[in-house]
Amino acid sequence: MPYLDHAATTPMLPEAVLAMSAHLGSTGNASSLHAAGRRARRVIEESRETLALALGARPSEVVLTGGGTESDNLAVKGLYWARRDADPARVRILCSPVEHHAVLDAVEWLERHEGARIDWLPVDGYGRVHPEALRAAIARNPADVALVTVMWANNEVGTVQPVRELAAVARESGIPMHADAVQAFGQLPLSFADSGLDALTVTGHKIGGPYGIGALVLSRSAAPVPLLHGGGQERDVRSGTLDVPAAAGFAAAAEIAVRRQPGYAPAVAALRDSLVAGVLAAVPDAVLNGDPGPGADRRLPASAHFSFPGCEGDALLMLLDARGIECSTGSACSAGVPQPSHVLLAMGVEPAAARASLRFSLGHTSTEGDVAALLAAIGPVVERARMAGAASTRR
């Protein structure tokens, strides 16, 4: 079954399954003082150290959370509240319009309920934020900015942002910056220390780890107001009994993903390039969305995103699904009623073309056979979807 939706979630690495299952039968609350607690705490802290090493961070900077969405919410809301509490003038959030909904909706919630003002940072036709645009937005009033949030790499079109340059611009004015690196982790070299960021979101299930666990890497000077209050775990930033097996699985996956990344990225990029060339050969008027690359500093190595003029994305999805090929119209979170992607709209794509889009994302289990199956199917599927598109506009 050709699975071309690794950006939604990717199979767990066998090593992560082993690491996780080794602890599923053990008892121990990592906050307890007795021997069982100490055993659990040791697993947590060793996992934290492994994660820190993989992320170029210090162990004390790794805050374990329930996943990417929670990390994004904690960073955006927590930093906003903390900055505003310290200075009520700081209510402006500088945000890219191509963020994942976990950031986008959190920011918009702050606007509706917490007096925030959003300054949407302009993006180019690839969905990229330029450092000059951030500098100009800050310059309008450096004193009223609460935070900057721009994702490391886009989950739909794969465009990589110049995160280090953006973070440097924010730092000039002493403004904290958060980046959602859920898609970048494991695909790109990633170092929190070198990034200049104050907060960085990652999650387990996109790198071959378990669902339901993620991390917010948080510089020690950043003190977000917590979303969850309780026992004071995780620097008092994220209360809740720690999930020992998940932490072990996450750490095992992170260690492997980062160790393999230098070899994996070019290999998966080559496979992706053959997918792109094959799709464009089969459907000559298909449009590749996002930065065409080459280069891992411009585009995620495992992702490809197309518009197929005259088709509805949901029809394409269904026809491919019926042939056993699994992909997505965008991010899995907007699955339901097909809406044109906010990412594509922000990039200046017309709504009709935005609805005519599919994302193919590769991963550690992808093979040439997966790509060949897609290339054999895509021509007839697009032709069929075009007939349906014509039928639905006929009266």
Binding site: L317, G336, V337, A388, S392
Partner: protein, 382 residues
């Protein structure tokens, strides 16, 4: 071989007999879930689809209640998962708004009483949805309607009433033409409702105990008056008797239906002390005429936009006519004259409103339908 359990054997031959690609419209209710399950069990390649008809697709994110809510979509998806078929949500809100809701409002504004379910079957389920399905390679659309398709003596597909008279929905399908019926599958027509519920339970479909929907789906609170008032505004007018004597006031003629008795709010009683009913609605002068029940008797009617489920009948013929959903069939003579259906009732009938459909039956077979335009009263005209 029998395509659908209990369905007449001819069904399979008329649909080609083999494994079909069937698109099952799943509302989130019991009937469409069991219909999809039966189609899948019969060996067809079934794909479930929930139609998002709500004007605001955002309700799929915010969980608003009312027409085609997230909850209904979830129930449909849950049922599809239990059956083991792929499931998608298709957004047909724009077509639904244009072809069903706007038409509904325009019909009321013109003093008629439309039936949006017929309209939806004709324009959405067996047009917009069917066209898209056929273009995508499906052979048929399957719904949970209680009606039967059987192959007639000449090999053509015929639409018949369901075996359960209390649930029969052939009236709302009377607008389908032969081409639409050729791509329609109704797996429930041979089964009483209670058995369908029991079957849903047996199949592990969690929707088994979900209550039937009765109201107009796009008026979630059931307040048609309020809905029309929001769309059409209020417009004060007179309520008069058959002599033109002014009896009271109303805030919009569209708020009335022929045959309506309650809610007239006329201060003084009729001279004969008998209850009064709405006899006529005139949108031009915004006037509502009321009178005695006998004046509601209709002896003949003419209807427009005829649609035939099979060949168009030639010459006058004797049929049974159903004049509203869940109405009793009455014997009639009907003839097509200059594209207009002229219907004479053997016995006068009451409460017949322009805008409703007249559906003609030959025994249990649906012959066709037309939209009632004018009625000839026995008492009023006399």
């Amino acid at each position: 071989m029998n395509d659908f359990p209990g369905a007449p054997d001819e069904t399979s031959t008329s649909l080609g007999g083999g494994r079909l690609r069937v698109l099952a419209a799943m509302s989130g209710g019991v009937d469409s879930a069991v219909a999809a399950a039966r189609a899948a069990e019969a060996g067809h390649e079934v794909t479930g689809v929930h139609l998002a008809l709500s004007g605001n697709p955002q309700s799929f994110r915010t969980g608003a209640r009312g027409c085609c809510t997230l909850e209904d979509a979830r129930d449909a998806r849950r049922a599809a998962d239990v059956i083991g078929i792929p499931f998608y949500v298709w957004d047909l809100a724009e077509r639904f708004r244009e072809d069903v809701i706007d038409d509904f409002v325009a019909e009321y504004a013109a003093g008629r009483t439309p039936n949006p379910c017929l309209r939806c079957n004709e324009k959405i389920k067996f047009s917009a949805l069917l066209d898209k399905a056929v273009a995508l390679g499906f052979d048929a659309v399957c719904t949970g309607h209680y009606a039967q398709i059987v192959t007639g003596p000449d090999g053509s597909r015929e639409l018949h009433r369901a075996v359960d008279p209390a649930k029969d929905q052939s009236y709302v399908l009377g607008v389908l033409d032969a081409e639409q019926l050729a791509h329609a599958v109704f797996p429930l027509g041979d089964t009483p409702k209670e058995l369908v519920r029991a079957e849903a339970d047996r199949r592990g479909l969690a929707v088994a105990q979900k209550p039937d929907s009765h109201d107009i789906c796009f008026i979630a609170d059931g307040d048609t008056q309020g809905f029309l008032e929001r769309r059409l505004g209020t417009r004060a007018g007179e309520i008069v008797d058959t002599d033109g004597t002014r009896l009271g006031e109303h805030s919009g003629a569209y708020g009335f239906t022929i045959g309506q008795r309650k809610g007239l709010r006329i201060g003084h009683p009729a001279a004969d002390g008998k209850p009064r009913y709405v006899l006529d609605i005139s949108p031009v002068d915004n006037r509502v005429t009321v009178g005695p029940v006998e004046a509601l008797d209709v002896a003949a009617l003419s209807a427009v936009r005829p649609r035939w489920c099979g060949p168009e009948p030639v010459g006058p013929g004797a049929y049974h006519a159903q004049l509203r959903a869940h109405g009793e069939p009455v014997p009639v003579t009907a003839e097509l004259v200059d594209g207009e259906l002229r219907v004479e009732l053997a016995v006068p009938a009451r409460g017949i409103a322009p805008g409703q459909a007249v559906v003609l039956y030959d025994g249990t077979r649906v012959v066709g339908s037309a939209t009632i335009a004018t009625t000839a009263r026995t008492a009023l005209s006399g």
